[in-house]
């Protein structure tokens, strides 16, 4: 939809004239070796910047906007180097192209809080080259020395004569020039946009309903399909009676697909009624015995046995032998659904020689490859149009591209454009959850209350197995955040029992950190209590050699009034976690009613994500991540009985609402380190901060999420 159209392979050049006139700039990146099946680097023109004759600077972004502000932060990098007028900057979703592939992961994807980090150099360079060529064009037109020209707000200025030309007026001339071999990027001291609170480019469209999400995509003659999905993971439909379905007005077809049985109709409601009327006999298969209660029991038993060691410092067993005090605790977290506000969907228009796919996805190139594979078309004939994502949180990054695959399957069967839409029930019951985990953790203190031994055993399912993120089959996702336990303890063992369960699991905002931070940061609090020390001071002593950890911890404690008195029944808790190369500390103030109702009043958070691109964007991610983490801390839980997921919609899979949301204050450590992402790092510390605050308020320790005071010990 928004992709550059009609350009040929020839246009995969460093510079050319854009289709609509003007300057088009692309930076070929080093070719990546890991080629996904069916991908082709040059079936679309690859470019990051387009300058129109109307002075509109269009930044073409290969990343997906799922709410994190990428469609603002990334254009800021280009605009900064170009000295573009921010009011004239626009964003366009890139097509699939190797030039947009993630430099580490080798696919076109958005995730791992990595976009700001991975695009920092390439997008600034793209902007700097554009600027140099616009200057060269102006200097040529004026017949002056380019060194006597400067740029500001979308214009080139000849300093001696104060003559000015807009970028729009220069675009066509600039496009005829050869690109410079190398152009330096700005020194940070010259930044005028990066580092300043900058309004999002997409807010207006999200305040008047014009932002287009995947579910809003349309094609002429489009039909809508809902899929009757298996009641148990992996169940197969053995017999389908669609007599009643086919009598429903608007129903066009019933199509069995791998994912279940699709009901295709002229709209959502007819498809829904048609699906409700289907009679399907399912062979529930081996997963019909799954129950989360049994999984939990098995994990609890395994947690008492030695796992596969992932970190081994010193000799924990020996140190336990001489510890003055010891403590052992067991922690657990449930399966969680992502519950993006926009349920999954995908529109496919499949023709004989072309396939167009409109969806909100985090993994464009995998989806593209899957569609190429299924349709038998050439890679250049398959077009993925990235729409706005109504939330991602990892759910729209599918290693199997299942929500695209099923839509292509339906499209193949019915010869009309078709949009498959998931209902909320499909979403909540559809699997691909944050894994359930059970942890056993023990520590020993010496006679001075210093921890000398730490032994942490995790039992969980990994989310990376079989994906490009674990090419060697080594899935450390359940360990992340636990292996990096930052406190200075001489004898540490961290071990894992990796489990295979028939419940599909997936990366969920902050991945393994969402569970390990709860365990590590709650247990450090338990140790502080056992040592008779203040939990903030206790952490400080153990972080003497970790200045960036310490800085965020101190900042959160100071701004969160650590140590100041609170009303009776209230408590303050602190937690710290490093994930995705970003440091976050959070102080939560909570109260617990006599009936055991937990209320979060205030959260004060600090973050060190290196150089800050858009401070207001960082603040927004911190606020949002904390709320997201609070939903998991206080409410989220998927349970399964006899293979059937017990939750189905927002009434029984609850998330935080505005009347439960605390006030949130965010403080940032600004420094000159390489910029890092903030989409995920705010999530991990909030559950332990709240649990620790509950302990401070009540003396009761929370070791299980979601928090239920009846289960606190």
């Amino acid at each position: 939809m928004n992709s550059p159209q009609g350009l040929s392979r020839r246009d995969f050049l460093r510079v050319g004239v854009a289709a609509g006139g003007g300057l088009l700039i692309g930076i070929p990146l080093p070719q990546l070796s890991s080629s996904q099946a069916g991908s082709n680097e040059a079936f679309r023109p690859n470019a990051f910047v387009r300058v129109g004759t109307d002075s509109i600077v269009t930044v073409i972004i290969g990343k997906s906007e799922m709410g994190t502000g990428i469609y603002t932060a990334l254009p800021m990098m280009v605009a900064e180097e170009m000295d573009a007028d921010w009011r004239n900057v626009r964003v366009e979703a890139a097509p699939v192209g190797k030039v947009y592939f993630h430099p580490t992961f080798g696919i076109q994807m958005t995730g791992g809080s990595s976009s700001v980090t991975s695009e920092w150099d390439s997008l600034r360079k793209a902007g700097a080259i554009a600027r140099a060529m616009l200057i060269a064009a102006a200097a040529g037109q004026w017949a002056v020395d380019p060194t006597g020209c400067r740029t500001e707000k979308g214009e080139v200025v000849h300093q001696a004569t104060n003559r000015r030309l807009s970028y729009g007026a220069l675009a066509e001339r600039a496009a005829t020039l050869s690109p410079p071999a190398d152009v330096p990027v700005k020194d940070a001291s010259d930044f005028t946009l990066i580092g300043r609170p900058t309004h999002r480019l997409d807010t207006a469209s999200k305040a008047n309903g014009t932002a287009l999400f995947g579910i809003d995509a349309q094609a002429p003659g489009m039909l809508t399909a809902l899929i009757a999905r298996p009641p148990v993971f992996g169940a197969k439909a053995t017999r389908i009676n669609d007599t009643k379905t086919k009598k429903i007005a608007g129903v066009k077809a019933v199509v069995p697909v791998q994912a279940g049985v699709a009901v295709v109709a002229n709209g959502f409601w007819a498809a829904k009624l048609g699906r409700d009327a289907l009679e399907i006999y399912w062979d529930e298969g081996p997963n019909a015995t799954i129950s989360t209660a049994a999984i939990r029991e098995e994990y609890a038993r395994l947690a008492k046995t030695p796992g596969k060691v992932a970190r081994h410092d010193g000799d924990a067993a020996e140190a336990f032998g001489r510890a003055a005090k010891q403590i052992t605790a067991e922690y657990e977290v449930p399966y969680l659904a992502h519950a993006t506000m926009e349920p999954l969907n995908c529109l496919v228009d499949l023709r004989e020689d072309r396939c167009d796919i409109w969806t909100g996805t985090q993994f464009q190139s995998l989806d593209h490859a899957a569609a190429v594979n299924l349709t038998g078309l050439q890679p250049s004939q398959v077009h993925v149009h990235t729409m706005m994502l109504g939330g991602g949180f990892g759910r729209r990054g599918s290693a199997t591209s299942e929500f695209v695959v099923e839509a292509v399957e339906v499209a193949k069967a019915i010869h009309a454009p078709v949009k498959v839409v998931w209902t909320r029930e499909d979403d909540i019951r559809g699997g691909w959850y944050r894994p359930l985990a059970y942890d056993r953790i023990a520590a020993g203190l010496d006679e001075n209350g210093n921890p000398i031994a730490w032994e942490h055993t995790i039992v969980s399912q990994g989310v990376l197995e079989g994906t490009m993120f674990a090419p060697d089959g080594n899935d450390g996702s359940s360990l992340e955040g636990a292996v990096e336990m930052p406190y200075a303890i001489p004898n540490v063992t961290v071990a894992l029992h990796p489990r295979k369960v028939g419940v599909p699991v997936l990366w969920w905002r902050s991945v393994g950190n969402s569970h390990t931070a709860f365990v590590v940061e709650s247990f450090i609090d338990e140790l502080a209590h056992l040592a008779g020390k203040d939990p903030y001071e206790f952490r400080r002593t153990l972080l003497k050699k970790k200045p960036r950890h310490l800085a965020v911890l101190d900042l959160a404690a100071k701004k969160g009034n650590w140590g100041a008195s609170l009303p009776k029944g209230h408590g303050r808790g602190i937690a710290l976690h490093f994930s995705f190369d970003t440091y976050v500390a959070e102080v939560a103030e909570v109260s617990v009613s006599e009936q055991g109702k937990v209320r979060i009043h205030r959260v004060v958070a600090s973050v060190d994500c290196g150089r800050i691109v858009n401070p207001d964007g960082v603040a927004a991610q911190m606020e949002g991540g904390i709320v997201f983490g609070l939903s998991a801390a206080l409410k989220g839980e998927i349970t399964i009985e006899r293979g059937h997921v017990q939750q189905r919609n927002f009434h029984d899979y609850q998330v935080l609402r505005i009347n439960e949301a605390p006030s949130i204050e965010v403080y940032m450590v600004d420094n000159a380190e390489h910029p890092q992402g903030v989409g995920e790092p705010p999530v991990p510390p909030i559950a332990p901060a709240v649990a620790n605050a509950i302990f401070a308020a009540t003396g009761k320790r929370v070791r299980k999420l979601p928090i239920r005071m009846s289960e606190a010990v």
């Binding site: 709410g67 926009e342 939330g391 606020e623 927002f650 505005i658 006030s663």
Partner: protein, 154 residues
């Protein structure tokens, strides 16, 4: 055939009277600013106004709109001039943005009834609107700001 007014425009739609208004708005009338989130009045993403009252269009049959005035996010203003839209932009409330049409439509009713709402008023009025990105703090700020703007503040 069901006739009603949407955003001051007379419409007649060919739809079964029990079809939820949401799908008529989105599919028959092309007004996709109103969103599907849950289908059971749990999340508020589908909030529109019928004769000025906030309604969850995912559970309201289109027959309920017959002969009435429906306002969707597209009809709140033609130019982003509604105080809530101005405040939303000033404070950069949305993240993914999917729930925001519903948030704004619920807030619009609140502001009409309580031009100077407290935090508690806002929490009560918007408790039916889920935001998974967690923009709640900004929603509170923006509703207060919209109240100021509506009073003519700069």
């Amino acid at each position: 055939m069901i006739a009603f007014t949407v955003n001051r425009r007379q419409v007649r739609v060919e739809a079964d009277s029990s079809t939820p208004l949401l799908w008529v708005l989105r599919e028959n009338l092309g007004l996709t600013g109103t969103k599907y989130g849950c289908g059971m009045a749990q999340c508020g993403a589908c909030t529109v106004h019928i004769d000025g009252e906030a309604v969850r269009s995912c559970v309201a049959p289109v027959s309920r709109a017959a002969g009435r005035h429906v306002t969707t996010i597209e009809g709140l203003s033609s130019d982003l001039s509604h105080p809530l839209q101005r405040a939303w932009i000033e404070i950069d409330v949305p993240q993914c943005g999917y729930c925001q049409s519903g948030q704004i439509m619920s807030a619009a009713v609140l502001l009409r009834e309580k031009p100077n709402p407290t935090d508690d008023d806002i929490d009560q009025a918007l408790a039916g609107n889920i935001c998974r990105c967690g923009t709640y703090c900004r929603i509170r700020r923006a509703v207060h700001r919209a109240a100021e703007l509506a009073r003519g503040a700069k």
